[in-house]
């Protein structure tokens, strides 16, 4: 019975969201804010309290039936196990800190109730994805996070572009959702159940060809939420939302939902060699693509958005290389340092007088608070993969897994991963130099920010830096504790000779050094941004938006016009009107008969009589013939 209490973890943020939604506007500001904090903090504390349930095989709990019809029987079921528990802890923990930050960040916002209820609702939906023991519950969360993301990107709805960016995010991710949905239908038809546990258990009974197709369907679904190619265009625009939203949804949690989905269904997904290669391939291409885009971005949040895309690409590569623990390791460290980067970016933007363009910033190391500089630097070195930081260990683990996978294809992915690491180091230090080095180039006046916007960054920055301890490789004296924790769920054990590992570490260190050196040479002293066709191409994200617009949006709208004007108004209504006119003409002819003149009627009568008489005569003659 007591395991039912696990439902409190997702339901706490949900109930706070509902209360804020219904009454938030009428309450003094402090109450909705406190409620929002209580919802996520409570969920965080409960996760710690219930940690024991995750041991062993984990715990499953059922609250009641959602849908039941024929062979369909879907219950509200959750699964608190070794995969979901750390993710729950991370999401609720990071969300709590971001909620505190958000209170400071949104202190002048009048529509706070809407903001905090959506933020809480998001945490609920995210927890539904993580804890779901059932694909349909997962789908509920999956669509739920999409909705909250939509509502929060377009939070400042009066600017049309913001609302448009929200709509775009919803639609693009929903394309992915359709594929996930089809996989869901298919899995149900094959296994007769939607329970994730049972599907994983029955996975080996499904024929290999179908498993490959299912894996690909799941992959596209994951791509939508995680902004991987080709469904990545929404993420950069999503930066229109308030910064806490970018930190929480578009960096730490929602965009990693795709990775989590693939890890959750890993027993199924890993059965398909082709599917795994496709997952790693999508990750590799996206990682490279996004890193090149990040090179040329001018808005600080867009740089971070592309870097998120790129880092999530690494996580996909990890899943494709068969290491769940490697993917989750990078997911966790990335969540810590990327949340810090975004929140620090919010701080930077604030100091720069709401300026987004890094080419109009500068000098913050000298003029800004020292605290900000150190925090930003701490997170940036994690992103760049400077040795001994959390980001270094997690990224290195993925590269090692790719290298040791064996086939040539994965060696290719490894090469892309290494090259992307170089780009990452370069654009990260470019960002740091442009924001902090030199003299101020903008109009921003340094002024204090509320304490709430400062202190939540510290614990996360520390976690990012020390994140390597979570899963320290054996060769530097660690026990690979995360890998051990996951046990059966961890995926492939990555083994390599120590020489090889040292070689790769040396390579990674060298790459970071080269990346830093290049950035140092280029941006130590300020230079105007390049403006050539290549930089414009990269700035526009390889013109992906224009391509989508040309290939999808415009034909869709044209088809709409065709259906509406061409079919409905012309063809269907036109035919009908033709019929009406035709019958009108017929009735006109008939009307001409009713002339009102007696003579006409009489002669018509006479003719009719004659014809009938003739017909009878004819019949009589024919009958007589027999």
């Amino acid at each position: 019975m007591s395991q039912t209490l696990l439902f409190l973890i997702p339901l706490l943020p949900l109930s706070c969201a509902v209360i804020n939604m219904l009454f938030g506007m009428r309450l003094p500001r402090l109450i909705p804010e406190t409620l929002a904090i209580c919802g996520v903090l409570g969920a965080f504390l409960l996760t710690i309290l219930f940690w024991g349930y995750a041991e062993g095989e984990g715990t499953r709990a059922v609250l009641g039936t959602w849908l039941s019809s024929g062979s369909v029987d879907v219950s509200f079921a959750l699964c608190f196990d070794k995969l979901s528990a750390p993710m729950t802890l991370m999401v609720t923990g990071v969300a709590t800190l971001i909620h505190f930050y958000a209170i400071g960040y949104m202190r002048d916002e009048v529509d706070y109730a809407r903001f905090f209820s959506l933020l809480n609702l998001f945490v609920f939906a995210m927890l539904a994805i993580i804890l779901a023991d059932n694909l349909l519950i997962l789908f509920l969360g999956w669509e739920g996070v999409g909705l909250c993301s939509y509502g929060l990107i377009g939070f400042w709805y009066r600017k049309r572009e913001n609302a448009k960016a929200g709509t775009k995010a919803f639609l693009v991710t929903r394309v992915g959702d359709v594929f996930l949905g089809i996989a869901l239908l298919w899995l149900f038809a094959l296994t007769g159940t939607l329970s994730i546990t049972e599907i994983n258990a029955q996975a080996e009974m499904i024929s290999p060809g179908i498993v490959t197709v299912l894996t690909l369907l799941l992959l596209v679904g994951a791509c939508g939420k995680s902004a991987q190619l080709p469904l990545m265009t929404w993420l950069a625009d999503a930066m229109a939302g308030p910064t806490p939203v970018s930190a929480l949804i578009h960096a730490a949690t929602m965009v990693t939902a795709g990775v989590y989905l693939l890890c959750r269904l890993f027993p199924l997904v890993s059965l398909s060699v082709f599917g795994m290669a496709a997952i790693a391939g999508v990750g590799a291409i996206t990682a490279l693509y996004a890193a090149t885009c990040a090179l040329a971005q001018r808005e600080i949040k867009r740089v971070l958005a592309y870097s998120t895309m790129s880092q999530v690409g690494y996580m996909f590569m990890a899943v494709g290389a068969g290491t769940v623990s490697g993917a989750m390791f990078h997911l966790l460290t990335h969540a810590f340092f990327k949340a810090v980067l975004f929140m620090a970016a919010g701080w930077v933007i604030h100091l720069a007088g709401e300026e987004n363009d890094i080419f109009r910033m500068g000098g913050l190391a000298k003029n800004g608070p020292k605290e900000l500089f150190w925090i930003f630097l701490a997170a940036a070195v994690c992103l760049a993969g400077v040795p001994l930081t959390g980001g270094f260990f997690s990224k290195d683990g993925i590269l090692l897994a790719l290298f040791t996978e064996g086939t040539l294809l994965y060696k290719g992915y490894w090469l892309i991963g290494v090259f992307t690491a170089l780009l990452t180091a370069f654009y990260t230090f470019r960002l740091v130099y442009l924001v902090f080095a030199g003299e101020p180039r903008g109009e921003g006046q340094p002024h204090a920010v509320p304490a709430l916007m400062r202190w939540p960054l510290w614990p996360l920055a520390v976690l990012g830096l020390a994140g390597g301890l979570l899963n320290l490789p054996a060769m530097v004296g660690g026990g690979e504790s995360l890998h051990q924790w996951y046990g059966k769920l961890a995926g492939r054990q990555v083994t390599a000779s120590h020489d090889l590992e040292w070689l790769l570490i040396a390579l990674a260190t060298g790459i970071v050094a080269v990346g830093w050196l290049l950035a140092h040479l280029r941006y130590r002293s300020y230079r105007e941004p390049l403006d050539n066709s290549v930089s414009r191409f990269l700035l526009a994200g390889w013109q992906a938006d224009a391509v989508v617009d040309r290939l999808l949006v415009r034909p869709f709208a044209a088809m709409g016009r065709f259906c509406s004007a061409g079919c409905d108004r012309t063809l269907f209504d036109g035919t009908l009107e033709g019929l009406v006119k035709l019958s009108g003409r017929w009735s006109g002819l008939l009307l001409q008969l009713t002339t009102g003149r007696l003579t006409t009627y009489l002669s018509a009568f006479a003719w009719g009589f004659l014809i009938m008489l003739g017909w009878f005569l004819l019949k009589l003659v024919n009958g007589g013939g027999h």
Partner: protein
């Protein structure tokens, strides 16, 4: 039919006759607006009470007829007054009674010839109840036409600018369909009478008729002509967009929430059981029509600037999915379809209410002239957002429950249909978000202070909102009555 032998209170007759009596009383009140208003409300409250009572009595479903009332009527022609209720009818009755309450509250401020307006609304309710309950062909046809006439007048007298044209189109289209049905009914009656020697219009008797395959196809076509036009399936849908657009608010609500459901109900109740072989052959065609309609209407909706027309198209698109579920001939898909009929009635009904409220406040229905309502009327906009999200099939809200059951069911027998239909999910998001974007987000275009929801409007919308969440999270009470009904229908029999 053990229930028939027990003497029992004629609750079903009450459902049909109460609104009829209310309508007559309204007419007698002539030009006294206030009295007729309250009278209409009292009547529909009573009807709602009766239907709730029936729902609580028979909520757990069970096979066979839940209620059966059989009285001899015109014996000479074998016409009987038979009202029967199974699980499906129970849900439709409940939906009718509920939406009718909302319609009356929505029409509260109608001043022009108000007593006639309310009389027509009640007459319509009587007709609808009759359609959902009648178990005799002539009785069914009678109610079918009774429901047609009030709607015609509601559009023609209280409608918008092009009301005459829209009303005439509605009338001619549906009349053409129902005349085909009438001919088929009489032919079937004749054939059955010639075969068995007892002439009867009672559907239960006619089920035993032995038909040659040609006869069956023609008769089936006659019935389906009426039902397809009413549902409406593309390409016979253009009357609906015009009628919905021109009808007064309460009329649009009834039209989209209830009247078009009678077409689908007719298929389930009459066409499929009476002509099982012809229906089986027709199912693939029905599926193609449904899928075509689903996408065609979605595209039209995407292109539409008038929010009422946009919602009309979204209705047609949703009903495409309902019909697809029926065409799959599978238990889960059918239960999903019927649930989706109910939830669609709620969500789209509520959206039509909101459109009327927005029109009242801003004086426009064009996406070009609307925008930024959230800042001016946040509660109204929140409601609008809620029902739009329900309509685009967000899990946890009403429509999703029906849709996913349909898709899960359809996939088991025709995976390709389900896969194509699932893509419609993106289409729904595309036009609904365009609607939301143009209405409540963006800069405010109507530059005056707009009143938020009044108490009466809360009274209409709040129960609907609660139901939309309830049906989304716990639809079990509304699926339960279907369990015993749908399975025998799929086997070709009647309860």
């Amino acid at each position: 039919m053990t229930a028939a032998s027990l003497p029992q209170f004629p609750w079903l007759t009450l459902l049909v006759m109460l609104p009829l009596a209310g309508a007559l009383l309204c007419l007698l009140h002539g030009n006294r607006t206030v009295e007729s208003r309250w009278l209409a409300l009292a009547t529909s409250l009573a009807v709602f009470g009766v239907s709730l009572y029936l729902f609580f009595c028979h909520g757990d479903g069970g096979s066979g007829w839940l209620r059966y009332e059989d009285v001899s009527w015109i014996e000479r022609y074998g016409i009987r007054y038979v009202l029967a209720m199974d699980g499906i009818a129970l849900l439709m009755v409940l939906l009718t009674a509920f939406l009718q309450l909302a319609a009356i509250l929505l029409a509260w401020r109608v001043e022009e010839k108000a007593s006639y307006f309310f009389a027509l609304l009640l007459l319509l309710e009587s007709g609808l109840m009759g359609i959902f309950l009648a178990y005799d062909l002539i009785l069914f046809y009678l109610f079918w036409e009774i429901a047609l006439i009030p709607m015609f007048f509601l559009i023609a007298v209280w409608g918008g600018e092009n009301r005459r044209r829209a009303a005439l189109k509605f009338f001619l289209y549906t009349l053409a369909g129902s005349l085909c049905m009438l001919v088929a009914m009489i032919t079937l009656y004749q054939i059955h009478g010639d075969q068995s020697g007892t002439y009867s219009f009672v559907i239960g008797d006619l089920l035993q008729t032995k038909l040659s395959s040609t006869q069956e196809v023609w008769l089936f076509a006659g019935f389906m002509a009426a039902f397809i036009v009413k549902s409406p399936l593309v390409p016979f849908h253009t009357w609906l967009t015009d009628a919905l657009t021109e009808a007064p608010a309460a009329g649009s609500l009834d039209l989209t929430g209830l009247l078009i459901k009678t077409g689908i109900y007719g298929m389930i109740r009459l066409a499929f059981p009476l002509f099982p072989n012809a229906s089986r052959d027709f199912l693939p065609i029905l599926a193609v029509l449904a899928l075509f309609g689903l996408f065609h209407a979605a595209w039209c909706a995407y292109n539409e600037d008038d929010i009422k027309r946009l919602l009309a198209y979204s209705s047609i698109s949703h009903l495409g999915l309902v019909v697809l579920g029926l065409a799959a001939w599978q238990l889960t898909a059918w239960e999903g379809s019927i649930l989706l009929m109910v939830t669609h009635g709620l969500t789209t009904g509520a959206l039509f209410v909101l459109v009327a409220l927005i029109r009242e406040r801003t004086g426009t229905r064009s996406l070009q002239e609307l925008g930024g309502l959230w800042g001016q009327a946040p509660y109204l906009s929140a409601m609008f957002l809620l029902f739009s999200l329900a309509s685009l099939g967000l899990p946890g809200l009403a429509n999703f429950a029906g849709e996913i059951l349909v898709l899960l069911g359809v996939f088991q027998v025709h995976p390709v249909w389900a896969v194509i239909a699932f893509a419609g999910v993106v289409f729904a998001a595309a036009y609904m978000l365009r609607l939301v974007q143009g209405t409540i987000w963006g800069p405010a275009k109507v530059k005056r202070t707009l009143p938020d929801l009044t108490a009466r409007e809360w009274l209409i919308l709040l129960p609907m909102a609660i139901l939309v969440v309830w049906l989304g999270l716990y639809p079990a009470p509304f699926i339960a009555p279907l369990h015993g009904t749908v399975a025998p229908l799929l086997l070709g029999g009647m309860p």
